[in-house]
Structure formats: structure tokens, C-alpha cells
Symmetry: C2
Subunit: 347 residues, 2 copies
């Protein structure tokens, strides 16, 4: 009797393993596990010196005119790499137009921003620094700031050897990109893709199957489970103006093509469970609600509560482990460092 | 000849050592080196669980009504434990009344705030959270926030075992105090006090001697080279209203005693070289200028440029080594977590 039971357990386990293998094979057609090393990026060889400099810059509030905001303000590494607000608060207490996306794993997105207007993170990094409603600074002022501190100049020299004036705006962006490329968060889903059957709960596995069968993975695919490809929000049915405000036409502002009205980059879904609120408008705080809205607007599907719960369980398996990031010690200002100003310039 | 030279070098070294010993003996009458362990604090036993919880709270912007500001915003561990602004920018882009003091080694101050109105860091921590121009939150809202996240409740249970509702405002403050007590930054001056003659440059030693001989150490003494005792700003000669604005009468607002008009706590001087701008008004960015103003207003002394330079060299020897602080991973909000609001309430 004991032998028979053991045999039964063993054969069930085998069947489970076979099922997991089949699910994994299917999943690997859509997704890929995170790389085990820092990804290479275009035109920017990543070195330890560049990473260290980039970390300092990422945390330095003196990149903003007011001295209040650093990259880490809206891409807070303590809270999932975003700021957990509808839209960010910036210079002069102004609100940004769109929800701040997570910086975690962002290096693996095919383009940056909700409308994909920046090709990569070094292009992206220059945006918020100059945006009047965000850091409200200028490249010239940033360069004055960086060059006023000998320690920064030394760090730039080490990170960009052989350059004449390395402490410049372009190199600032490249160094920040290098640091951000290290912000990779391996998750249970990666362990599953890499062969660990036990890494996902039964609900998460069912959710993964649904995610593929229902068609979510048509847009949210690849290593970041999204982060590439552009799709209309409301492909089947437009959500209400509370969620999709009429004033923000998405990628239309980049391409000026009517087809791109209300078109956005498919959101990368890694760490989605810890980066509420959702959508470019940041109007939805609850992940099950966000899943239901997506099912309806993009797929014309009414998902049952059970199905939504399983998809959410899958999405939770995308919450990864943060790399340990030690707060950097930044150089002190000198007599020639531009002073912070909280003044709001007229447009 | 070589022997004689060696003997001369040796005797000069001995004389130097004797001089250093004499300077150290004098210095130890005024100052003390930092402790090598986390200092004990009153009514708040420090445990690893409390430190970890306190670190999470210190970095959590959800302690502010807007979700924009954490303790780390104005006490930035990347920039000397303060924010390097005249006065901090807070809720609704309002400016605080006084320069943000460094949190580094603050546990060793005898009282907190420029006017000493908080006895310790657990009393201090409650202030900015509730100040309308800073984090603009309420104890009730903070408690709702903390109790809405099971991970926080678990952390509070571990830090305050046996308590019924541990995730409360008082315990928030105690945990923050426990974390802040770890922010101790040993400096070259400590190495000198502990017996290392080489830890201070000749200029720094001359500056230390001047600091004591001129009388700076009458107020700026103890382990934090200040941080205790209350003195009128302008003991001998009042500085101009640009530096000492008439509207801020300092400790008078705490004691309502005429003698306390324009009285402030002697600033603790550890890390002063990396925490410009200076004074409660934050109006002076340059350390030599600050030293000259102090000499004139408090001591009636016109210090020569050389003397000022030596005192500054001594003050630079108070710049310490930051403990490594890893950015915490904070719990994600839940459905019941109060949402951030950037609205500014009327007074």
C-alpha cells in the first residue's frame, strides 16, 4: 500500500513536472528570463567607474534647479523604482503629465517614456532634468554645477578617460544610463523560466497560462513582459475619460500621425505589483481593477474574478529582488557651485 | 654625521610628538571622540529590529501627506545629512523657517532643533511630519498608513514586541531615533583625539589650537563640537539682518524669556565643511566667511586670513566617514493605504 501511494505521488509529480515543462516551453515563446549580467547598451560601454559616477548623479538633487529633486525622487529605489503617485510633483509643486514609470529593468525596454519618444536611457535621462515641471534645469547649468566640484570632475575623468571636458551633459546621461543598467531585479518568474517548477504557485501558473491564452502576451511580451511595441489604449473599447484623459494623445505627439492617437507603449510589467498606481494617467490604484480594465479595453474580455486573481498572482511573480544600492557620498558644493533656486520661471 | 642627523630627526619627531600630546591633552578638556558603538538613548532600547524599521521609515515618503517628502529629503544621507539649501522646500513648495541641520551624529546633541525645543530625536522626529510647511501630515493619518501595510505591522511587532498596537506614531518616532543613532561619522579629529598624531595636518592642528585659545570652544565643545548650550547670536556684535533676520527670535519662542531673544543652540560642527549653507538662516555659503562672522559677532575678534584658514582646516578634520546605508525596500501600498495628496490646506 505504501509503495503504491509512493508510486502514485511520484507519477503525479512527474505529470506536474511535465505540465510545468509544457507551460515553460509555451512561456519561452513569449518571454525571456533576465540576463545574469549587466546588459550592454548602445554607444555606451559600461564600466565600474561609469556605474559609480552614474549612481552619484542619480542621487544628486543638485541636478535640479531647486536642489529638491534627483532622479531618485520620482524613481525611488525604495518603492519599486517609481514614486507611487498619479503623476509626479515637480518644480514649483507642478504636477507632471504622466505617471512616472519604474526605472527597474528599464534598460531592457526597447524605448523609454510612455510614448517611446526616447530611444534609450541616455536620451531619457536628459528629459526630466530639463522639463519645467520636473527638475527645471538647463544643460549649461548642470555642466556648471558638475564642473564646480573637483571630485565630480575626477569621477568624470575616470569614467570617460581621454576626453577633454568629460563633465558634460551628454556624459551625465551616459553615466546615469550605466548605473540604471545595473537595476535588474530577478523574480520568481525568472526562476520558473530558468527551470525551477516550484518558483510559481499554482495560481501564478494558471495566471501565466491565461495571460498567454487570452492574448495579454500579444503586447506584454519579451524580457520585460512589455516595454516594446505601441498599441492604442482602448483597442476594443475605450476606457472612460477618468482613466484615458482626452488631452493626452500619447504617441500622436511624437509621430503626428492620426493612427497614433491614444497610442502608448505597452507597459513593462516587471514589479507591477509594487508600482501602483497604473496606466499613463495613474488613475487606477488596484491591480485587479487594472487587469479587468485591460481585459475589457484591449481584448474585449470579461474576466471572472477567479481569472483576474490568477493573472494577478502571475503578475506578483514578476516582483523581483532589488540589487543592494548603498547611498552614495556626494561631493560638497564649492564657492562656484550654482545655488539652488525654488523660483518658478514663466514659460 | 649621519648619526647626528638621525638623532636630530628623531629628537624633532619626539618634540613633535610631545607637542601633539600637549595639544591632545588640551583638546580632551573640551572635546571627546565619537563612541565606537551605537549610543544608548533615553527610554528607547536600540535593537537591530528597531534600526531596520527606523531606516525604512526614514526613507518612506508616505510619511508625508503628498508622498513627496521623507525624512531623507531634508536630511539627505548623500549630502552630509542635510539638504544644502538656505531653508528646506516642503509641502506646497513652501519654505521652512530655518536651515535644516544635519542628522549625522545628531543623537549626541543634548537637544534638537536650532532652538532646542525637542529633548531628543524621538521628540524631534514628530515635528517635521506634522509641520504644515514640511510633510503636512497628522499622527492619525500616519498610523492609518502604517497599519495599512502588513509588512510594516510585522516590522513594528518585531521592533516593539508584546505591544498591542505597535504601529503607532510614538513608535514610529522611536524607530527613527534608533536608526538615526547609527549615523555616527568618525573623522580625522577622532583619530587625533584617540592618539594618532598624523591624523591632523599642521594647519588643522594650528586651527584646533586657535579654536580653543580664541574661545570658540567655550560654546562649541563636547563630542559634537557644539550641539549643547544656548547662546545669543551676536553675543558681542549683532550680525546684519541679512544673516540674523529680525523675525526669528530663536529660543525666545520656546521659553518666552526676554533673555532668550536671538538665542540659539550652539551648532554642532561635525561635518560642517560639507553642510553649507550656514547659520539658522542658511544665508552664508562660504565656511571661511562663516568663521569670520562668528569670530566677530561672538568673540569680538578680527581673525586674520591665515587664522581663518587654519580654523577651517580644523573644521575640515571634522568631516567623517559615513556608515554604509543600503536603500531599504519599502512595503507596497494596499487598497486601504491613504493616497497622497498635494493639496495645500488652509491654516
Amino acid at each position: 500500500m505504501r509503495l503504491t501511494l509512493s508510486a502514485l505521488v511520484a507519477s503525479t509529480a512527474l505529470a506536474g513536472a511535465a505540465q510545468a515543462d509544457a507551460l515553460r516551453d509555451e512561456a519561452l515563446q513569449y518571454f525571456a528570463p533576465l540576463p545574469s549580467t549587466v546588459p550592454a547598451v548602445k554607444d555606451n560601454r559600461i564600466t565600474p567607474e561609469k556605474i559609480d559616477l552614474g549612481k552619484a548623479l542619480f542621487f544628486d538633487p543638485r541636478l535640479s534647479a531647486s536642489g529638491v529633486f534627483s532622479c531618485a525622487s520620482c524613481h525611488n529605489l525604495a518603492t519599486g523604482g517609481d514614486d507611487n503617485m498619479e503623476t509626479s510633483v515637480g518644480h514649483g509643486w507642478q504636477k507632471g503629465p504622466r505617471n512616472s514609470p519604474t526605472v527597474l529593468n528599464a534598460v531592457l525596454n526597447e524605448a523609454q517614456f510612455w510614448d517611446g519618444r526616447a530611444d534609450d536611457l541616455k536620451a531619457q535621462a536628459k528629459g526630466p532634468v530639463q522639463a519645467g515641471v520636473e527638475m527645471a534645469n538647463t544643460p549649461a547649468q548642470v555642466e556648471l554645477t558638475l564642473n564646480s566640484m573637483p571630485q565630480y570632475v575626477d569621477w568624470f575623468k575616470a569614467a570617460f578617460p581621454g576626453e577633454d571636458s568629460p563633465a558634460n551633459f551628454d556624459n551625465m546621461a551616459k553615466a546615469i544610463e550605466a548605473f540604471e543598467a545595473t537595476l535588474i531585479t530577478p523574480a520568481p518568474f525568472d526562476a520558473f523560466l530558468n527551470g525551477d517548477d516550484q518558483a510559481l504557485t499554482a495560481d501564478a501558473r494558471a495566471g501565466l497560462k491565461l495571460f498567454m491564452d487570452k492574448g495579454c502576451s500579444s503586447c506584454h511580451s519579451g524580457v520585460n513582459v512589455g516595454g516594446h511595441g505601441y498599441y492604442p489604449f482602448g483597442l476594443i473599447e475605450k476606457p472612460g475619460a477618468d482613466i484615458l484623459p482626452a488631452g493626452d494623445k500619447g504617441r500622436f505627439s511624437v509621430t503626428a500621425t492620426v493612427d497614433d492617437e491614444y497610442v502608448f507603449r505597452a507597459a513593462p510589467l516587471r514589479n507591477v505589483a509594487v508600482t501602483a498606481p497604473y496606466f499613463h494617467s495613474g488613475k487606477v490604484w488596484d491591480l485587479p481593477t487594472a487587469v479587468s480594465i485591460m481585459a475589457e479595453s484591449q481584448l474585449g474580455e470579461q474576466m471572472s474574478d477567479q481569472e483576474v486573481g490568477q493573472v494577478v498572482a502571475f503578475l506578483q511573480s514578476l516582483t523581483g529582488t532589488m540589487p543592494a544600492v548603498t547611498v552614495p557620498v556626494l561631493p560638497a558644493e564649492t564657492a562656484s557651485t550654482p545655488r539652488p533656486t525654488s523660483e518658478v520661471m514663466p514659460e
